[in-house]
């Protein structure tokens, strides 16, 4: 194999349990975003635009849809003779086989993959952030400072800094201390989960980390602190563009709504840095005589006869006459039947909302709160899972997570099952292997 100066490894195995039902069947990086994309499109497109043509995607949780989506990588021009995109699930060897125990362990297990390309540098990325970033600039900085590791940082409001991994640096941006979610942050430079390592240094630390039985095998918790302890040279690299972690329903919802703003913080239509994705094979969308569309993103294959306001509509969605979709995000293939109303909702793929049904915040008093789930949902956002059926005239309130069909006839016994909803989310959280 011809050697590569730099390759990228994308950590895409996390479940993203805080996204609730949206990641029941897919890994977080495969969650739809912005009308046409999956979250991982941003990272993959960044790689290609940064000149990185060899990318490993580490998958673990519900990888089927993500694997299918990535395919040969042709959507990102990553179907290459030398390099390209490789999906890397955990595997068995003659001696043993195991799941990826943590982010560092996932890379550790794939040392042989990386070594095939004998790279000088490795970029470690996560597949669950929305941003446009040129990693080549960061690599230049990494080379210039002769660092062992360079960590991309973004300034966050100091009162929010305690939610992030915070880098304390000297004036030259050399990292002096790393604090994971500090109570009293000394700086507002938050790690973006974008690392460049000099490979031979990282490899040594990965092996040492693997031999440490007490380690969580995590980059943030173990590798970075260990490197600092060993006086390795770690630098922060400032990024001043838009960067958003879409790990919660609220942040996913917000990030989608932000692109609808007049001066959207992320410029999706920028032709010099297109976000590539698998484009649906569908005809242009149709707006009917009876439709009213205001402030929305709509894409191929949709047919709109109702009212759409301040919403994002993915491919192949049908919105029938008299339906009202407001402040909502509708994933591919869903159908909103006549007279149905949606208010601050995220509707899963291929789900049908029956005639006259209502989901979301409402002034009505006869709303079922059986699906209320304030652990996953907040800010009055309600979510409905994929491939579900919501019967006509069913009314579901705000902050609800609908994870099963709602047929008119079983409205009564939903109440008894409501307790199970809480249980199932808890158990899924326990099953999370690494995020």
């Amino acid at each position: 194999m011809k050697s590569k100066e730099c390759l990228a490894m994308i950590l895409a195995g996390g479940q993203g349990s805080r996204l609730g039902i949206l990641t029941n069947k897919v890994a977080k990086p495969a969650v739809p975003f912005g009308g046409k994309y999956r979250i991982i499109d941003f990272t993959l497109s960044n790689c290609v635009h940064s000149g990185i043509d060899t990318v490993g995607v580490l998958t673990q949780y519900q990888p089927l849809e993500l694997n299918t989506y990535i395919g040969s990588g042709q959507a990102w021009d990553l179907d290459r003779n030398n390099g390209g995109v490789f999906v890397l699930p955990p595997f068995m060897t003659a001696i043993k086989g195991e799941w990826y125990k943590g982010t560092a362990n996932a890379i550790f297990q794939n040392i042989p993959f990386v070594e095939q390309f004998s790279p000088k540098y490795v970029v470690i990325l996560s597949g669950d952030h929305i941003y446009k970033m040129n990693y080549a600039k960061m690599l230049d900085a990494h080379k210039k400072s002769e660092a062992d590791a360079t960590i991309a940082v973004i300034e966050v409001p100091i009162d929010e800094a305690s939610r992030f991994g915070i880098m304390n640096t000297d004036s030259e941006l050399k990292i002096t201390e790393f604090e994971e979610k500090p109570e009293n942050p000394k700086s507002n430079l938050a790690s973006m989960g974008v690392y460049i390592f000099t490979w031979d240094v990282l490899k040594r630390f990965l092996i040492a980390d693997e031999n440490n039985k007490n380690s969580d095998n995590d980059f943030g918790k173990n590798i970075i602190p260990e490197m600092l302890k060993s006086s390795k040279s770690l630098y922060a690299h400032r990024f001043d563009g838009y960067w958003k972690d879409v790990g919660t329903i609220q942040s996913l919802y917000e990030a989608n709504m932000e692109i609808l703003e007049d001066n959207a913080p992320i410029h999706l239509a920028d032709n010099s840095w297109k976000v590539f994705s698998r484009n649906p094979i569908k005809q242009p969308h149709y707006i009917c005589d009876t439709a009213t569309v205001r402030n929305a993103y709509i894409t191929d294959g949709c047919s709109i006869a109702g009212r759409v306001e301040h919403s994002i509509i993915f491919e192949g969605v049908i919105i029938e006459e008299g339906a009202v979709v407001k402040d909502s995000i509708i994933f591919p293939g869903a159908r909103v039947c006549k007279g149905a109303t949606l208010n601050r909702t995220i509707i899963g793929a291929d789900t049908t909302i029956g005639e006259g049904a209502h989901i979301g915040a409402s002034s009505g008093e006869d709303v079922m709160d059986d699906f209320l789930n304030t652990k996953i949902c907040s800010h009055d956002i309600s979510i409905v899972g994929e491939d579900l059926y919501i019967a006509p005239n069913v009314k579901i309130g705000k902050n609800a997570m609908v994870d099963r069909d709602v047929r008119e006839s079983n409205v009564a016994d939903i109440k008894s099952k409501a307790a199970n909803t809480e249980d199932s989310t808890t158990s899924r959280e326990g099953a999370q292997v690494y995020a």
Partner: protein, 372 residues
């Protein structure tokens, strides 16, 4: 099926009079239906029918066509075995400017036909738009032991538009009894779709024979001449068919897509593939009004759009009004403009406040890159 039939598509059709739409591009590469090019339909139909070896013959101005179909990737025709073959004119010292008909074009494609392994060939014009699976037609061709099977649909074409059509008379056994090439009066409602199925080796023989006798026209010199000698059958197709062979028919086809019934017929069976552009989803502004329109990705609509087809990346600014029109890729309709019954080619700009009105029967056409 995959190994049994190849496809040949003519990127040009001399009968089609498309004016400035084809000034800088092949007929096959004319943008249509918001995100497609004319050739996407026949090419997708072939692929959906299991044909995996397709030759596309070109004559002139084929740069945009090459750019569009490239290696054939969107149609999964970038293959190690078979795949897409672009067949530019075969120009040798002795045949410069000798192309006078379909026979000569196929003569240029003889190399492709000879080296192919498939038993049958489907020869098609690019501009008959439909969503057809050719497998049943091939099965019938084999079943009837036909030498040639002509595909046709039944359509009541006004006499004024017959001059571009070929009409067929058939007997009860679907055998062709007479063929009328560009007639002046109606001889039948069976309208040839400019697609035929033939045994590959027979096609090669017939072409060589025609060329040796100085004959050029497929319909007259292959079909009519051999009407009594060969078994020529018809195969009736009952789906949606639209021929794009003039500016009015081009306009009418686009407008036909505003009907759900037509869209369902054209898009619900096989996928219609096209080159992907990775545009963002279409963005609708806070004060826009859009009714009865087909809109492609990448559009930004801030004004009013009614009864229109917008291709990828069209911008309709605030206060602008677009009605009954076909607007191609990346055209920019600036603030307070008003356009009605127009066809804008790619990258047209109409500056603030201008008005342009055509007639439904005679739309105003503005060429590529023009700034009004």
């Amino acid at each position: 099926m995959p190994k049994t039939m190849l496809g040949v598509i003519f990127a040009e059709n001399p009968e089609a009079k498309m004016g400035e739409l084809t000034q800088y591009r092949s007929l096959a590469a004319v943008p249509v239906g918001g995100k497609y090019r004319v050739i996407d339909f026949i090419l997708s139909n072939m692929v959906n029918s299991g044909i995996n070896s397709v030759g596309v013959t070109t004559r002139y101005n084929y740069q945009s066509l090459m750019d569009h179909i490239g290696t054939g990737k969107p149609w999964d025709l970038n293959r190690k075995q078979n795949g897409l073959f672009i067949l530019p004119p075969y120009v040798a010292k002795d045949n410069v400017d000798r192309v006078q008909g379909g026979v000569d074009v196929l003569y240029g494609a003889l190399g492709f036909l000879r080296k192919s392994q498939q038993e049958y060939a489907l020869i098609a014009d690019c501009n008959t738009v439909c969503n057809m699976n050719f497998t049943p037609a091939l099965e019938r061709h084999i079943e009837t032991d036909a030498d040639i099977t002509l595909l046709y649909n039944v359509e009541d074409i006004p006499e004024s538009e017959l001059e571009k059509q070929i009409l067929l008379n058939l007997n009860d056994a679907s055998k062709i009894t007479d063929i009328h090439v560009y007639p002046t009066s109606k001889k039948s409602d069976n309208v040839y779709m400019n697609m035929f199925i033939i045994r590959r080796t027979l096609l090669i023989q017939l072409i060589e024979d025609c060329v040796a006798h100085g004959e050029h026209v497929i319909s007259k010199d292959i079909f009519i001449k051999n009407l009594n000698r060969l078994k020529i059958f018809g195969y009736q197709y009952d789906g949606f068919v639209h021929r794009i062979d003039s500016i009015p028919t081009y306009f009418a086809f686009n407008m036909a897509l505003l009907s759900k019934e037509n869209r369902d017929k054209l898009f619900s069976d096989g996928n219609i593939y096209t080159k992907v552009k990775d545009s963002v989803a279409a963005k609708y502004g806070k004060d826009c009004v859009v009714k009865n329109s087909l809109v492609a990705d990448g559009c930004v609509i801030e004004g009013t759009v009614e009864n229109s087809i917008l291709s990828r990346g069209v911008h309709v600014a605030k206060g602008a009004r677009v009605t009954n029109s076909v607007i191609m890729q990346n055209s920019d309709i600036q603030e307070n403009c008003e356009v009605d019954s127009v066809i804008f080619d790619k990258d047209v700009t109409i500056r603030v406040g201008k008005k342009l009105m055509g007639q439904a029967t005679y739309p105003v056409f503005i060429s590529k890159h023009i700034v009004v």
